[in-house]
Symmetry: C2
Amino acid sequence: MGMWGKRDDMVVHGREPFNAEPPAAALAGAAVTPVDAFYSRNHGPVPRLDPAGWRLTVDGLVARPLRLTLDALRSRFDATEATVTLQCAGNRRTDLTSVRAIPGETPWGPGALSTARFRGARLADVLDRAGIAPDAAHVAFHAPDVSASADPPQPYEVSVPRDRALAPDVLLAWAMNGAPLPPVHGAPLRVVVPGWIGARSVKWLTRVTARTTPSDGYFQATAYRLPPAGGDPEGVALGPLPLNCAVLTPADGAVLPSGPAEVTGYALAGEGRTVARVEVSLDGGRAWSRVALEEPAGPGAWQRWRTTLGLPAGDVHVLARAWDSTGAGMPESPASVWNPKGYVTNSWPRVRLHVR
Amino acid sequence: MGMWGKRDDMVVHGREPFNAEPPAAALAGAAVTPVDAFYSRNHGPVPRLDPAGWRLTVDGLVARPLRLTLDALRSRFDATEATVTLQCAGNRRTDLTSVRAIPGETPWGPGALSTARFRGARLADVLDRAGIAPDAAHVAFHAPDVSASADPPQPYEVSVPRDRALAPDVLLAWAMNGAPLPPVHGAPLRVVVPGWIGARSVKWLTRVTARTTPSDGYFQATAYRLPPAGGDPEGVALGPLPLNCAVLTPADGAVLPSGPAEVTGYALAGEGRTVARVEVSLDGGRAWSRVALEEPAGPGAWQRWRTTLGLPAGDVHVLARAWDSTGAGMPESPASVWNPKGYVTNSWPRVRLHVR
């Protein structure tokens, strides 16, 4: 077993902060990702919180501030379970680094994304119990993990707008895949915001604060913003996820015999939408064929797809593209979406096969 | 004055059915499009309904079917006013026909889109009064305009899912820009579904029917579906709009002096999102500059943008692209989004200027 209970063959991008993604084939193998394969994105050392001493504080613009034990959360609120896919804002970054280097950022492949059955209380119910004030336009999440790479170094804090916080799908989760959260995934409690970048699904949650403005912490005001290729002092704060897809098997660079081959992957539509269609091409995008696409297990869950392609001998590139329920597709080339932070890699994915 | 009270210089694509769009400069000139410039998309002759004899029937899976006069709608329900942009699913089709012909479809430029202040009752309030049943998963809209181009010829009918029908922004509108609806825009009553293709905002509404399944009428089951380039018997039913943008001024093909020139256009994020950024390029997409972008007047309203560019002498192409609040951009080339019906033209818009 690898670090933090992960599979031995995880692709470990860094040991501390621990950053690792599953090999594509492991991700492809299950609709719900086993915990030992679930990707892990961290900004500092993993905090070890004592569940007995841990409390969740709910404060700020609320009528009745709360201080809750884990038992209180579990016993005083309805529990909800949902299949949710979390995705790092840097997922698929290596497709951009193939265009131009992105120094200082983790080279995530298509595995900075995983799916679990999360169980917890609805954040809306907790905020309702606390009596969130009408002027609380944002809800901030605080955690004790301190990032040395933040400027200045600081504990993790981000926020979501009030409407998102009060939607019934946002959970304060204590379990994933039927077991208590392990330390590396936020024990004893984490936020789960379906359809948003993983950075808003705060792990090791200790405090929820209702406030008038978005978080001004480093991870929202400075990091996790999309700069344009041309430079932009501010950038677009990343929150809801865009449409995306990836090819998982065969792996990029695989050597295969010619003839029929199964090709699998995933697509994710992001908040409020579903994936309507996925197509693949073997000739650089001139001819496309439609693949078989799973229905999503719920809002914010990925949709896996599969097809069988007849592979000719030679160097073969498999391209994929998806459409969402608005008819929106994906940009063709990684060059057109390249940006200095390597966020939102949503160009057509490509795997290169050597067919004998 | 032109047909149906429109400006003399409307671009008229057909007289009956009447299909016309405003010249780009007229569209660019106002945040709320004057009624005489508002685009008009029809599938049959414009019905002339007698307001005195007209009734709205609300039936199907409801506890209390209704039959309402216009006075009853205006007096028995709260009136709401909202700035909404309507967009035809074929908007910007000419960008696709420049790649390959699309026979039999109207060659809309970037003006198959307009914005008005609509005033009416909330559809949700009317359905609540009627007592919509729990198993009513869809709400259909019926109108008396008969399309000879439908197969078989039939009156207009489409539907929206229950959740969309019950959202507070969907209106049954009797007025636009402070005056009663004119005949060509649906008098006496039309549906307004912000953020969805115009085809769901049914004009000359006579009947609202709660039902278990989507409409099986021609305009939803057969037309207004996105076929892929590779052929697909079914296609994706078009409903919510994708991110899009266009350049309005200078007009495509304009002859201009070199030096600073104001460039204006619009962007539209579609349901549940906003436009975060628009950029323009003069060098085919290598260097981009950010433009000044208006905030939307409300959900479903366009966002106008403007910038000043220094035009060099020669043939100059202005490219534009937008990002929405998820960080999603737009496909680069019309070739990549070309489809046999010419729907969802959301590639980077391009205007060609001759600069002296």
